[in-house]
C-alpha cells in the first residue's frame, strides 16, 4: 500500500481494497477532533483518489444524508472504486482504531470511576468536551445570526429537544418540512 503514486497530478489513482482500508485506517488513527481536513488531504492531495471538485461534490452529498460526513464519505468512496467490498473495507478501516481506543478508555473509566482523582480528571474532561460542543454550536449557528427565519426554526428546535425533551423523530418530521417550505416561499 505504500506505493503512493508519484504523479500526484493524476486525477484517478483508483485505490484497491487494501489501499481503501489502510487509507481510512490511518485517517481513523490520526484524526483527533475533526477528521474532515485530514480526509481531504489524504484523498485529494496525498493519494490522488479524487480531484478537489469531486471531493467537494461527494462531501455535499454526504452532508445532505443522515450519518456522519466522514463515515458516509468512506462508504461512498469505497463504493465508487471497489463496490460493496470497497465500502466495507473503507468504513471498517475508519472505525477500527477509534473503537478499540474508546473501549480501552471505557474500561479504565469503569474500573477507576470511584477514585476521587480519576473522578476529578473525568469531570474536567467532560466539562471540556461540553465546552467544545458549545463552540461547535456557535460556529454552526453563527451564519444564521441575521436570518430571522433560520433563527426561528433553530429556536423551535432547541425548545423541542433541549427544553421539552420531545422525541427526535416527530420533531424532525415537523420542523424539517416546515423549514424547507418556508425557505422555498422566501426564495420565490
Amino acid at each position: 500500500m505504500d506505493a503512493i503514486p508519484a504523479a500526484q497530478t493524476t486525477k484517478h489513482d483508483a485505490p484497491d481494497i487494501g489501499e481503501l482500508f489502510t487509507g481510512f485506517f490511518i485517517l481513523g488513527l490520526t484524526g483527533f477532533g475533526g477528521v474532515l481536513p485530514l480526509a481531504r488531504h489524504m484523498m485529494v492531495e496525498k493519494r490522488g483518489w479524487l480531484s478537489s471538485a469531486e471531493f467537494t461534490d461527494l462531501l455535499g452529498l454526504c452532508q445532505f444524508l443522515p450519518g456522519g460526513n466522514i463515515i458516509n464519505m468512506s462508504v461512498a468512496v469505497g463504493l465508487k472504486f471497489r463496490g460493496i467490498p470497497g465500502a466495507f473495507a473503507a468504513i471498517l478501516g475508519l472505525i477500527a482504531v477509534p473503537t478499540a481506543v474508546v473501549i480501552g478508555l471505557g474500561v479504565i473509566y469503569g474500573r477507576f470511576a470511584d477514585d476521587p482523582v480519576v473522578r476529578h480528571l473525568f469531570g474536567g474532561l467532560a466539562a471540556a468536551a461540553a465546552g467544545l460542543l458549545i463552540s461547535t454550536a456557535i460556529k454552526i449557528a453563527w451564519p444564521l445570526r441575521r436570518d430571522v427565519l433560520g433563527l426561528f426554526i433553530g429556536a423551535l428546535c432547541v425548545l423541542a429537544i433541549a427544553v421539552f425533551r420531545l422525541p427526535l423523530l416527530p420533531t424532525l418530521l415537523t420542523l424539517a418540512p416546515l423549514s424547507i417550505v418556508l425557505r422555498s416561499r422566501q426564495a420565490s
Binding site: 450519518g67 473501549i103 480528571l121 469531570g123 460542543l133
Partner: protein, 176 residues
C-alpha cells in the same frame, strides 16, 4: 440479554437514519433513550462517555460503540456499531447512484438550505443537554466556558483543549 441487544439495535438504527447534519444532532435523543427511557446509565455517566469518545481519535460518533460496551459488553459494541453505521451507509449507497441525476436541480439547494437551521438548532440542543449533564460545580463551569471561548475565538487544537480541561479537572479545584 438478547432483549437488550434488540432494543439497542432498534434505538441506534433509528438514530442512524435521523442523524441529518452529523452525529452531534442525535445526542439529546440518544441520551433520552439510554438515560430517561431505559435507565442504562445516569445523565452524568452519559456525559462522561461522550467526553471519552471526544478524547479518542477518529470520527465524532465513537460514543456509539462506547454506549454499546457500557450496556452489553462486546456484543453491545457490535450491535450498536452495525445499527448506527449500517442504515445510513445503505442510504449513502443508494443516494450515490441518484446523486448525479439530481445534482443541478434547484430543489436540492432549497432542501439543503432548509435543513441548515434544523441542524444548527439540534447541535445547540446537544450542547445544552451535554453541558447540563457534565457541568455542575463552579470548577467545571470555568473549564467548559474557558474551552468554549478558547475554541471559538482561537485556532487551538480541540485535543489540546480537552487535555487542558482534564488537567484542570485533575487539580480538583471547584469540584466536590
Amino acid at each position: 440479554m438478547s432483549g437488550t441487544l434488540v432494543t439497542l439495535a432498534l434505538i441506534f438504527s433509528q438514530l442512524s437514519l435521523l442523524a441529518f447534519g452529523g452525529g452531534n444532532t442525535i445526542l439529546p435523543e440518544m441520551q433520552r433513550q439510554v438515560v430517561d427511557i431505559h435507565h442504562w446509565m445516569t445523565a452524568q455517566e452519559f456525559g462522561a462517555l461522550f467526553a471519552l469518545a471526544q478524547a479518542a481519535p477518529g470520527p465524532n460518533m465513537m460514543v456509539v460503540p462506547l454506549v454499546g460496551w457500557h450496556v452489553a459488553g462486546f456484543s453491545g459494541v457490535l450491535v450498536t456499531s452495525l445499527a448506527k453505521f449500517g442504515p445510513s451507509s445503505l442510504v449513502t449507497g443508494f443516494a450515490l447512484r441518484l446523486w448525479e441525476r439530481f445534482k443541478d436541480r434547484p430543489w436540492r439547494r432549497t432542501v439543503q438550505a432548509g435543513l441548515v437551521p434544523v441542524t444548527a438548532g439540534l447541535v445547540t440542543a446537544s450542547a445544552i443537554v451535554i453541558t447540563h449533564a457534565s457541568v455542575s460545580s463552579w470548577g467545571t463551569v470555568v473549564i467548559a466556558a474557558g474551552v468554549a471561548i478558547a475554541t471559538t475565538t482561537t485556532r487551538i487544537h480541540p485535543l489540546l483543549a480537552l487535555a487542558a480541561g482534564a488537567v484542570l479537572g485533575l487539580t480538583g479545584i471547584g469540584q466536590p
